[in-house]
């Protein structure tokens, strides 16, 4: 089984402060870390590998320093790490990023063989868009399971996975064919303390480099110029109101609800 995990290096959000005058983030001097969701994605991938055999490959798009994040994945037990780095990616939004990662992944498939499970984090803590994973899955035309919280079963013969995902209202358990794309929640697993030999291997490992040189790229889909996203305004969202708790007998509660929604119903009709 071949598992590919998309990982991103992000500024440690716990150390980022906000300039309240300009509404921008002060990133100066903030250490870069592996996006926390991907720690869990790699952890899960390595556990699945240990259980079912196979290998785990990780891929990041970013500047050369992002290899630090890749090393962390290797220390967690990933087998091989790819860094996709090129000036032409500078200023990419999620559309351009997912394109670049899609092409990077295709190259990895060419080099390492078909991928059965794709993992990405639910979202990156610096952008929080949660669009990149779905963007890649769509380009591959893969079934997509977002907000993964549990892998219940993997059947490699019949090529399916049973997985549970979080929804806004509860949980959903789905059966999906392999290959499949997951974006994961932190509650997927508890991080383990990696064995020392993994860390030693990670320090010695070579990071494989991908760039415009060895990856097939349509330059018309890369970088700032081909990133249609525009930041119009940054603002603090209003706090979501907490729901009120109604109490009483069933009839009383029904009455309370009716009287609360009556004015809205009138407006609509």
């Amino acid at each position: 089984m071949h598992i590919l995990v998309f990982v991103k290096q992000v500024p440690d959000a716990s150390q980022v402060r906000v300039n309240y005058e300009t509404g921008t983030l002060i990133r100066e001097g903030v250490p870069a870390i592996l996006n926390p969701f991907e720690e869990h994605a790699v952890e899960e991938a390595v556990r699945l590998k240990d259980e079912h055999g196979g290998k785990v490959t990780v891929l990041t798009m970013g500047p050369p320093q992002a290899s630090e994040a890749l090393k962390q994945c290797l220390a967690r037990g990933a087998d091989k790490a790819y860094l996709l780095s090129d000036r032409i990616f500078a200023g990419s939004d999620t559309l351009a990023t997912s394109y670049a990662l899609y092409e990077g992944a295709r190259k990895i498939i060419e080099l390492e063989g078909d991928v059965d499970l794709f993992f990405a984090g639910k979202q990156a803590i610096d952008g929080d868009t949660a669009q990149t994973g779905p963007g890649i899955a769509t380009r591959f035309d893969l079934p997509l399971v977002t907000y993964l919280i549990k892998i219940n079963e993997i059947n490699l013969e019949e090529k399916y996975v049973v997985a549970t995902r979080l929804t806004e209202f509860g949980q959903e358990t789905v059966k999906v064919p392999i290959p499949v794309f997951f974006t994961v929640e932190e509650s997927l697993n508890v991080l383990s303390h990696s064995p020392l030999p993994y860390l030693i291997k990670a320090e010695k490992a070579k990071i494989e480099l991908l760039s415009g040189e060895n990856v097939n790229l349509d330059k018309q889909q890369c970088g700032l110029k081909h990133s249609p996203t525009m930041v119009k305004k940054a603002f603090t969202p209003e706090k979501r109101q907490r729901g009120a708790t109604l109490s009483g007998t069933l009839d009383e509660v029904a009455d309370q609800i009716a009287s609360k929604i009556a004015p809205f119903l009138k407006k609509v009709s």
Binding site: P31, H193, S194, P195, L196, P197, L199, I200, E203
Partner: protein
């Protein structure tokens, strides 16, 4: 996986451990460094003055591309009182000659850079891993155990460079727990200021910098040592106090820091600055008399782990670098013989004795005791001297002679004439 085997296993990627790693790796020795922090330097603190000379034989072209802040051209020493100070300043154009005598540094950046030099030379550094105990074969140290699964590392020789709280030195029985009177707590803030503001306020330009050392009673009569060092775009302001005194005077480090920041001689220097970081760390101040055993079968102790701090001259990192270097050289000699017994490794202690490390530590060895038995030296004298300076310089119609008489009387009252003579003699004997 089988045994993990290295020629040398080093505990701690601070200056001591890293300098040893660099010297060893350059000589082709298979060396591993275990560091508990997220990266070397991530947890390390110092005021920030790093001396160039100790890097000879470690990184010869220092500072080269190393992350240094300002080179120091002026050093101020102040005896402080609540509202005043009496100071001594030395500024010298010679301090502008390369190689610079010393620079201010940030440890988070400096240690990381030093670690890169070690890795570049071929050493392996493993972060986020804690060494939990030495692995013994009888009395001989044969490796280290870490907190990770499959985490044992076997080695011909272990260098414990694990800092002030050295767990290794303790578990080998080389020393006991730190005594409350032999260790100080240092707190420090990095206060961001414009480069130009710093240049104006301290009367420097380019990469020139200034240090201020302060001694006296800063807070409710308790003696403290404080410092202010200029960086490129910030100043490092810190204060330290022997832990026993903190407990006795019931002082918490924040109060101490706040009163330093509010001191009329300091507050204008940091005005308008923004605190960027707050750090705290212990400083071993017991000196020579509190040093542990420095070597055993298959093991050597270096840097803060061996209490190698010269508190009088705020030197520690250079002693750490030097001891790491000497430990590495001792290993290389031992490796030629193929013998890592305590007998062979005793050369390490000899090398230290011949170097400035032990000579300096010996010179001041009675100072911690002197200060401990004579607390008035640091809390009364600075006050008296400040009062005297004020009396002398205030023009108020009283004759200078009368002023001198009154100062003298005050001194005799506060301390006593014979006591003063004795103090002078003692100080001269200890630091002279």
């Amino acid at each position: 996986m089988g045994d993990i085997r290295y020629d040398v296993a080093i505990v701690g990627a601070g200056p001591a451990g890293l300098s040893a790693a660099i010297v060893l790796a350059k000589a082709g020795v298979k060396v591993i460094v275990i560091e508990r922090g997220r990266f070397p330097g991530s947890k390390n603190v110092m005021g920030g003055v790093f001396y160039t000379d100790c890097m000879k034989g470690v990184v010869d072209d220092f500072p080269g591309k190393a992350p240094v802040e300002r080179h120091i051209v002026e050093q101020r020493m102040w005896l402080i009182d609540d509202e005043s100070y009496v100071g001594f300043t030395h500024k010298n154009a010679k301090f502008d000659n390369q190689p610079y005598n010393c620079h201010t540094v940030f440890r988070a950046q400096f240690d990381k850079w030093l670690a890169q030099q070690a890795t570049g030379a071929g050493a392996l550094i493993i972060n986020q891993t804690v060494v939990t105990e030495p692995i013994m074969e009888g009395d001989k140290v044969v490796g280290i155990r870490t907190d990770r699964p499959e985490g044992d590392i076997m080695a011909d020789c272990v260098i414990a460079a694990d800092g002030v709280n050295s767990f290794i030195a303790k578990s080998l029985g080389f020393r006991s727990n730190l005594k409350k009177n032999a260790v100080a707590l240092g707190v420090k803030e990095i206060i961001g200021l414009d480069e130009k503001v710093i240049n104006d306020r301290f009367n420097v330009s380019g990469s020139q910098g200034v240090t201020i050392e302060m001694t006296g009673s800063l807070f409710e009569g308790a003696e403290a040592m404080a410092f202010l060092y200029t960086n490129k775009k910030s100043v490092s302001l810190g204060v330290g106090m022997i832990i026993e005194d903190m407990i006795e005077h019931n002082i918490n480090p924040n109060e101490l820091m706040e009163s330093l920041k509010a001191h009329p001689a300091i507050s204008p220097l940091i005005e308008g600055g923004e605190t960027k970081e707050y750090l705290a760390h212990m400083i071993p101040e017991g000196g020579y008399n509190e040093m542990p055993r420095l070597f055993g079968d298959g093991v050597m102790i270096a840097g803060d782990a061996a209490m190698m701090v010269n508190a009088v001259h705020r030197e520690g990192s250079n002693l750490a670098i030097t001891s790491g270097k000497l430990a590495a050289q001792t290993y290389l000699e031992a490796a030629e013989k193929g013998d890592f017994s305590a007998d062979t490794l005793s050369v390490y202690a000899d090398k230290l004795q011949e170097s400035f490390v032990m000579k300096d530590l010996k010179k001041y060895k009675e100072l911690p005791k002197l200060l401990q038995k004579n607390r008035h030296l640091l809390d009364k004298y600075p006050k008296l001297i400040n009062d005297a300076a004020f009396e002398l310089l205030k023009v108020d119609g009283i004759s200078k002679q009368a002023k001198q008489r009154s100062i003298w009387k005050n001194m005799k009252q506060q301390i006593g004439f014979t006591r003063m003579l004795k103090d002078l003699y003692k100080i001269w004997r200890t630091v002279g």
